[in-house]
Subunit: 209 residues, 2 copies
DNA sequence: TTGCTTCGTGTCACTTAGCGACATAGCGTC
DNA sequence: GACGCTATGTCGCTAAGTGACACGAAGCAA
């Protein structure tokens, strides 16, 4: 099975699982239900996920893939603020239409994670993935090996602040507070950029020659 | 049941679970075995832990409780480097003798987490706990509410770099590389302090008036 | 076409993690 | 000693996961 097809299937399962988790809670949702909802046998679900809760991981990761894919092709000569602002706007306008719904689902899972420890582990595992990807990006920028201690610390700190920002913004969006604060892509970009810059002691954010 | 007694029992269970996990792997260790090893009924294990893997959390957290308890009574007029150095030496000399064995066990769990995703979740959950405690300390230092966004970001970034340092040092100690590098408490203290200072953009580390 | 291989999935049987409900034993208080 | 409180044990059950094997679709060769 091609890697891409496998990822798509996992995401598909994850969507249904997340929907059920949100509608009726994690404990009340069974593997059989998830399987039925996505139209697969239960056995196949366990072939793709090692546990019920981990079914939420792809959709939760999906909330950050935009950011990650933007970061992945961050040109060396651009500042973080500049790049984020430009690319996030582009994504919002030209991005895939499923993206919005998925992001909303992802936010719901993060919200659920506040009360469901099982989902908290899924969220943390997703952030762990994000951290590894970030490490690769940072290693490239700093021209150091990916396993380098300093690279790992910067990646961890950056991933951590991104996680907190995601939790914060996600909670606000779900609470239907004044979302106007987050409509301004430039302002949001600046917040992310500034947080990453600060968390990495300024090592990540500037253009590199 | 007093909070302290409950914590002691959880730690006791965690010790046996960690030992078994290390000796025979997570998958090969059953709840019954853990229960038998600690001398309790299986049912009681599930009263104290929500899953087999989470049994590892206390012993994994134990590796950082020293640091946490040191941070908790960090006087406002002291710099982080100063305080860590003084207190960690004091702990090493006067601390409880069980501490050493527990720390070693904790490092083994972190090592296992590299290959066992089930344990990785436990380790991440433990770090999540650490982050919350750190948030309280930082909130106190900055005289802000604990839920404050900036406090949370600083706590997350600090916890993240502490985690990476722990992983790094732990791996080195287990690999029996030249551990002389970590014998020097002052140097280790300085590394932790510097990492936290950098990850929080200098907000945490200096004395506050 | 036929036959062979490969791989994803379904089916079924089985183990065990984990919980609900009730019984019991320890322990402090009067 | 009687009473209540709470931690633990026992029993039984549900459901999370796994192993083994069979089926069917797709690809390839002759």
């Amino acid at each position: 099975m091609s890697e891409a097809r496998r990822a798509r299937l996992r995401l598909e399962i994850s969507r249904e699982a997340a929907r059920l988790f949100w509608e009726q809670g994690v404990a009340a949702t069974s593997g059989d239900q998830i399987a039925a909802a996505v139209g697969l046998s239960t056995r196949t679900i366990w072939r793709h996920f090692r546990s019920k809760e981990s079914c939420a991981e792809p959709i939760v990761l999906q909330g950050t893939v935009t950011l990650m894919s933007v970061l992945r092709d961050w040109p060396r000569e651009r500042s973080l603020e500049e790049h984020l602002d430009a690319e996030l706007v582009r994504f919002r306008d030209e991005g895939p239409p499923v993206g919005l719904a998925d992001e909303r689902l992802g936010r719901k899972m993060i919200r659920l994670a506040d009360t469901e420890p099982a989902l908290r582990t899924a969220w943390l595992m997703a952030c762990d993935q994000l951290e590894r990807q970030l490490a690769a990006v940072i290693a490239g920028r700093l021209e150091r090996p990916a396993g380098d201690l300093e690279v790992r610390m910067h990646a961890a700190a950056a991933a951590a602040v991104v996680r907190v920002l995601d939790e914060h913004i996600g909670a606000a969006l779900l609470a239907d507070a004044d979302t106007t604060e987050f409509e301004d892509t430039a302002a949001v970009s600046r917040r992310y950029a500034q947080a990453i810059r600060e968390a990495t002691g300024g090592a990540i954010g500037d253009p590199v020659t």
